[in-house]
């Protein structure tokens, strides 16, 4: 039994945090949103050098064959810094999809390039992930359903509430795979993507809490920091509690994805629900405590708020995830 990070995982997270802090990720994100993805692509190559893009890729194709918990550690840090780019797709979902399909030709063609960071990949899976994120930046765009996997042809970019998410609908391109293996592989990819998404939400939630604690300690009204008022304190305490108790669900879902396929869907859904709920509470509270300045673009709070709003509803809505747990519980799957 081990449900906390190892020293190596702590160091990995700290290294990512240091790198993303030093790289001035907010500026990179603004340029990504403003049709200048080059600095972001540089940052993604540096993440590749640290091993992030190869975590979920088997060693046979140049990756690290890492545990899903390592993917969770990385994605939480990317969410913490609101890094732009198709993280859940390229780091988690596509490696899971290709390896689960077991099609060596597809693996040979794409996994080494995803692992090395040469290729950023993205994916649309109707109905849960209707848009391919960053389809105009990614060099591999896929479109999957229960029966087929195809290349995707991106339509025009649509405006997301999170302007760093360059989303587009995708039309069918060339057929890559069909048949009975596709459904389970897509389901596995959805779980891997949802888990990576949940990890980003937890990271974003923590960033919102930290930023808000700093602000509440500095902003003075009635002659005292607003963080001294109980009405503010208690809201922030509730945010901290939600984030604290979402994390073990995230780790347990990573364990299930690796070792317990029969409960993976249920456990990933529990993690996604808890992380999305916690992050949304963090977002709502962060804005409320900041007051009007939180609405102003200059505060920078918006990058995290809009990321949370978008991620909380993709890779499966809260209702869809609750429905998966309901199904498991109705079948008697309690432990």
């Amino acid at each position: 039994m081990k449900l906390t990070l190892t020293a190596e995982q702590e160091q990995f997270a700290a290294a990512l945090h240091a790198m993303l802090t030093e790289a001035d990720t907010p500026t990179v994100a603004r340029r990504w949103a403003a049709d200048d993805p080059a600095p972001g692509q540089v940052l993604w190559r540096r993440l590749a050098e640290l091993g992030v893009t190869g975590l979920a890729v088997p060693a046979r194709w140049g990756g690290l064959t890492a545990h899903p918990a390592d993917v969770v550690v990385a994605c939480e840090e990317l969410g913490h810094h609101a890094l732009p780019g198709p993280a859940a797709e390229s780091i988690a979902a596509l490696p899971a999809l290709f390896t689960a399909l077991g099609d060596d030709a597809l693996c040979d063609a794409w996994l080494p390039r995803l692992a090395s960071g040469e290729v950023l990949g993205t994916l649309a899976v109707a109905p849960h992930v209707p848009y391919a994120t960053d389809a105009d930046v990614a060099s591999l765009v896929l479109r999957a359903d229960e029966r087929t996997l195809r290349l995707g042809v991106p339509g025009p970019r649509r405006r997301s509430v999170d302007d760093t998410r360059r989303v587009a609908e995708v039309a069918d391109g060339a057929l890559l795979a069909s048949g009975p293996a596709v459904g389970p592989a897509v389901a596995h990819a959805l779980n891997a993507g949802a888990l990576a998404c949940a990890a980003q939400l937890l990271g974003a939630g923590h960033a919102l809490l930290e930023t808000t604690l700093r602000y509440a300690g500095q902003r003075t009204q009635f002659g005292q920091p607003i963080g001294q008022f109980q009405a503010v304190k208690h809201q922030l305490a509730d945010v901290a509690i939600d984030l604290e108790f979402a994390r073990p669900l995230l780790y347990a879902a990573a364990v299930a994805l690796a070792d317990h396929p029969s409960t993976a869907a249920r456990d990933v859904s529990a993690a996604k629900i808890a992380c999305a709920d916690a992050a949304q509470r963090a977002a709502r509270t962060a804005l409320q405590v900041h007051g009007a300045i939180g609405y102003a673009r200059e505060s920078g709070l918006g990058s995290w708020l809009t990321r949370v709003w978008a991620l909380a509803r993709t890779w499966g809505t809260q209702s869809w995830h609750r429905d998966r747990i309901r199904t498991a519980l109705a079948a008697g799957d309690l432990t």
Binding site: A216, K233, A237, R322
Partner: protein, 416 residues
């Protein structure tokens, strides 16, 4: 990361499960606050102790088995899953004992713990006073120096188990300083000068009482920690009460399991909004369970270092002891808010599933399938009344949120 139990822990779980299956009384014991119930629950504790299962995480010297925090969590899961009797000595086992391990002398531990493990002494807590609830440092009951000990005078209230317990522990004023003029004392509830008046609760039970003290003598040997240092000692006990020790996750995973079974019986009658609450209750109970697994199995190097042993405290448990003895009191505040809100939510969902049958605690059989199963009639209603006390006792959740904001999150302190 993994969630697998090692062979020793799996074997322990199997042992506990089969022992409980063979020994938990088929019918519920009489209510704990009646004379018959008191005797029956004390007898149950002796039975548990004889089987080596009353205090599994304590050192063997005191009647325990020296098991790890994780094994203690597993024991609790099995205990609640089997719906075994309420622990009549929970104030002693889960609140006083961890404090004795941290602050007591070797003499106190040797004298008090084995008797506690067999329920020879049942303990009550004596914290609150009429004018000192959330503001615990405002207590007025006094301990005055006497030959060889102290004389206690004053009034305690909301004192759990006091109507039937043998002994009690609490804070008494020994000096003027608000926090540094308090001393932690243990006293005999049958001593001269003690009178106890039971208080009838919402559900009619008399689980707590008022204690009136008039010049009650307590020997020096029953001072826990240093004189005037009672606040520090008490805060460590309060930490245990807030954290895992008193309300272990097993209690809530068992309740969530029963809720899911109740919901399954309602089947197509259950409305979707109610089903969502069942799902959310199950998620939260599991979150608490997983969180405690993480705390209990964190490698020694990751843990907050324990203070070095002091003279006379050579037999402090190292590997053993309840999980909360390893965490800070302030993190326990997060746990306390979480489990107390969870408990209310689970019971509210159950009552809503029972619908119009909730007011009578459900029916065993009824045409709509809404009746409670597993002999649960009354259990949900009683449990609901009890759960409502959770956000109030052990420091209200308002106090806990302030503690979290100030001590965990570092926000500036209130003007109190």
């Amino acid at each position: 990361m993994n969630l697998d139990l090692d062979d020793e822990t799996r074997a322990f779980r199997a042992e506990v499960r089969s022992w409980l299956a063979a020994n938990v009384p088929a019918t519920q014991l009489p209510p704990i606050d009646t004379p018959e119930g008191d005797l029956a629950h004390r007898a149950w504790e002796r039975h548990l102790a004889a089987a080596g299962l009353s205090v599994v995480a304590w050192p063997t010297a005191y009647g325990g088995r020296g098991f790890s925090p994780l094994q203690w969590l597993i024991f609790e899961e099995e205990y609640h899953r089997a719906r075994a009797p309420v622990r009549i000595n929970q104030n002693g086992l889960f609140l006083l004992a961890p404090t004795l391990f941290t602050h007591g002398t070797a003499e106190q531990r040797a004298r008090l713990l084995p008797r506690m493990a067999r329920a020879d002494d049942v303990w009550a807590q004596a914290w609150s006073e009429p004018e000192a609830g959330s503001d615990l440092a405002g207590i007025r009951s006094r301990a005055v120096r006497a030959d060889g000990g102290w004389l206690l005078s004053g009034q305690k209230t909301w004192s759990s188990r006091a109507a039937q317990a043998d002994r009690a522990f609490g804070l008494f004023r020994t000096g003027a300083d608000r926090h540094h003029g308090l001393t932690y004392l243990m006293f005999d509830l049958r001593a001269e000068g003690v009178s106890v008046r039971p208080i009838h609760q919402l559900g009619g039970a008399t689980g707590f009482a008022e204690i009136f003290l008039d010049q009650v003598f307590v020997p020096d040997a029953d001072v826990l920690g240093e004189v005037h240092q009672g606040w520090t000692v008490a805060m460590s006990t309060a930490g245990h009460e807030r954290g895992l020790s008193l309300r272990s996750p097993g209690r809530f995973t068992a309740a969530a399991g029963r809720l899911v079974r109740l919901w399954r019986r309602a089947g197509p009658h259950a409305d979707p909004a109610l089903s969502d609450r069942v799902v959310d209750g199950w998620i939260a109970a599991r979150a608490y369970q997983l969180h405690s697994y993480g705390t209990a199995t964190q490698e020694a190097a990751d843990r907050i270092p324990e203070p070095p042993p002091r003279p006379g405290r050579d037999d402090r448990p190292g590997r053993t002891g309840s999980p909360t003895s390893r965490g800070g009191d302030h993190a326990a505040s997060m746990t306390k808010v979480f489990w107390s809100e969870l408990d209310v939510a689970l019971h509210e969902a159950a009552l809503d599933l029972l619908g119009p049958y909730a007011e009578t605690g459900g029916l065993r059989t009824d045409p709509t399938g809404r009746g409670a199963d597993d002999g649960d009639a009354d259990a949900w209603l009683d449990g609901y009344l009890f759960s409502l006390a959770g956000p109030i006792y052990a420091g209200t959740n308002e106090i806990q949120r302030t503690v979290i904001a100030e001590r965990v999150l570092g926000l500036p302190r209130d003007r109190r």
